[in-house]
Symmetry: C2
């Protein structure tokens, strides 16, 4: 351990292990985050297997994950061998360290604690992986990583005495997830590829050619596009609406620096418009969780449709891992929970 | 001229000059295509300006276009200096040889003949450029090149005695255009970025990672996806629907080679679904024009919604250029028109 980093003994080392990055949290027995670290060793960017890892593909794969883990927090693991180790995210996918099969919904989020996938690490220490969620049906839906964020949102709301009886939790991002959570049970969820579609339209289609990178000159461009995406008679849908980014540019009505705002407003507007029929009855409490600026865009779009957001949360994964670790009795439950 | 290519004297040399390619047609005084050629010298891939073109940017630009034209059909131009020269497509855009301002709609398609933009070429010979169309409004819409295809469709239908009183012409492609044409007048049109969106989703998002290139194993995958995209209660829209390509793959319900079919069906299905309210009343005659396989996909989608397509046309640009050249009196009108 770095001598300058003197840390109390953590009860949990939590890992948020996604496609492009790995984050580690040292959490004490009261649920407080003592320290956190981040590396670029997402599951698609792992280090090479150390020499001597053996010729077996599965062993090699495990060695690469172990190497990433040791690089980021080998000192924590060595100094605190009693700490539980719990991971969520793509580390549990088919391309991960070990596949943690999707857990069917509806289900109580705390029930995931009974469905952890154990991985025995060198020395016999166990890493537990949180499963993703699946909604079966004609068209299935899946999430992996967001289930732990949902646990974190519940943890945060309960710690501050918030009403969690009926929630609609929006998790904007590359793929936005929306989860209906009643009394701690995920009853339904949806996925929108909004963030990824925005990125490819901007970087790989004709719409990006005239776009500028500078700060928007017209603060209302985003909101105007949200309004354009509202359900209306004669609407031609998203595939038609996005072309307005080009035609407004061609006719001098939308500056280069405002075109990304316009496109963002159209896409988020279409996502929110699709959710509208599900927002009014029953009246869910709306909570957003994710990167603050992005959540603010969704809050603006929802407010324009008269659906105010109750709360915006971010950085909830450690709290979610802590909640699941408690429910799994990997750490001792203590009566007083601190909001993280 | 290549001695092996003995051609009657053309009345018109027509150019279909797009972003990525240039096509030339030699057309006789009866409207028959005598010969056609193609090069890669689209407006974004022009040859360098010949030495001695001068330092002026505008002169250099003109020299590059002239060079592309000479490379493809200098022999035709030299042998037949009396032939009219008419071009359509991106050659008339702001990035083209000369900007041919968009013509406002509604307008009769033959009226475009009165709005050609002349470019005086070396030696005084004139190239005429067909303008694109614009639909003004809160959200403008534009087309460039497709107006000439519409002229070609009208030309073909009239030559075979078809009813052209009320048409809805679909032009599938990178950007699909749909034009409502009543008595030869374009009264309205729409644009869908369907083809380009399909390409970027396939090549630049997570959806493409599991896709195969082979022939589809399940002939019904496309039609099933069309049905999924139908307007229905609880629909979450395109941004949500496309994620099914991944979840059906993850759950073993959609093979790698069928995933492109599924995605294509979803996108075309959404485009056609958006048009449905405009298809029923008044009853337009539905005509598709474009690449045959792609048109067939749209015809399948429309048939699943009980809207049979009357005709599929392709390769109509030469006929459209011929029609506009006649209306502009660049060539003599002859009483008997041959369907091209």
């Amino acid at each position: 351990m770095n001598p300058s980093e003197r840390m109390e003994a953590p009860a949990l080392i939590g890992l948020d292990w996604g496609t492009s990055s790995l984050r580690a949290y040292a959490v004490d027995s009261g649920g407080r985050v003592l320290a956190s670290r981040r590396s670029e060793h997402g599951i698609m960017h792992l280090p090479e297997a150390p020499a001597g890892s053996g010729p077996n593909a599965s062993t090699q794969n495990a060695a690469r994950f172990e190497s990433a883990l040791q690089t980021l927090c080998g000192d924590w693991l060595q100094a605190h061998p009693q700490a539980a180790l719990l991971a969520c995210g793509m580390v549990g996918s088919a391309q991960g360290w070990r596949e943690a099969a999707y857990h069917p919904t509806p289900c109580a989020i705390d029930q995931l604690a009974q469905a952890l996938t154990p991985v025995v690490r060198p020395g016999g220490h166990i890493l537990h992986i949180v499963p993703g969620l699946i909604r079966q049906g004609e068209i299935p839906n899946v999430m992996r990583g967001e289930e732990t964020q949902i646990a974190g949102v519940l943890q945060g709301l309960e710690a501050t005495g918030g009403d969690v009886s009926s929630l609609l939790i929006g998790l904007p991002g590359t793929h936005s997830k929306w989860a209906w959570v009643d009394g701690g049970r995920v009853t339904r969820f949806e996925t929108f590829m909004t963030g990824e579609v925005f990125a490819v339209l901007r970087h790989h289609t004709i719409l990006g050619r005239t776009m500028g990178d500078g700060p928007p000159s017209d603060a209302s461009a985003f909101e105007r596009a949200i309004r354009l995406a509202r359900p209306r008679a004669g609407a031609m849908g998203l595939l038609a609406d996005i072309f307005s980014t080009r035609t407004l540019a061609l006719t001098g009505q939308l500056r280069a620096e405002d075109q990304p705002e316009h496109l963002s407003g159209l896409l988020i507007g279409h996502e929110v418009a699709a959710l509208l029929p599900h927002l009014s009855t029953p009246k869910n409490r709306l909570v957003l969780c994710g990167e603050t600026d992005l959540c603010q865009r969704y809050a603006t779009a929802l407010a324009l449709h008269d659906h105010p957001v109750s709360a915006i949360q971010s950085g909830v994964v450690a709290a979610g891992l802590w909640r699941i670790a408690q429910a799994a009795a990997l750490v001792s439950a203590v009566p007083q929970i601190t909001c993280i």
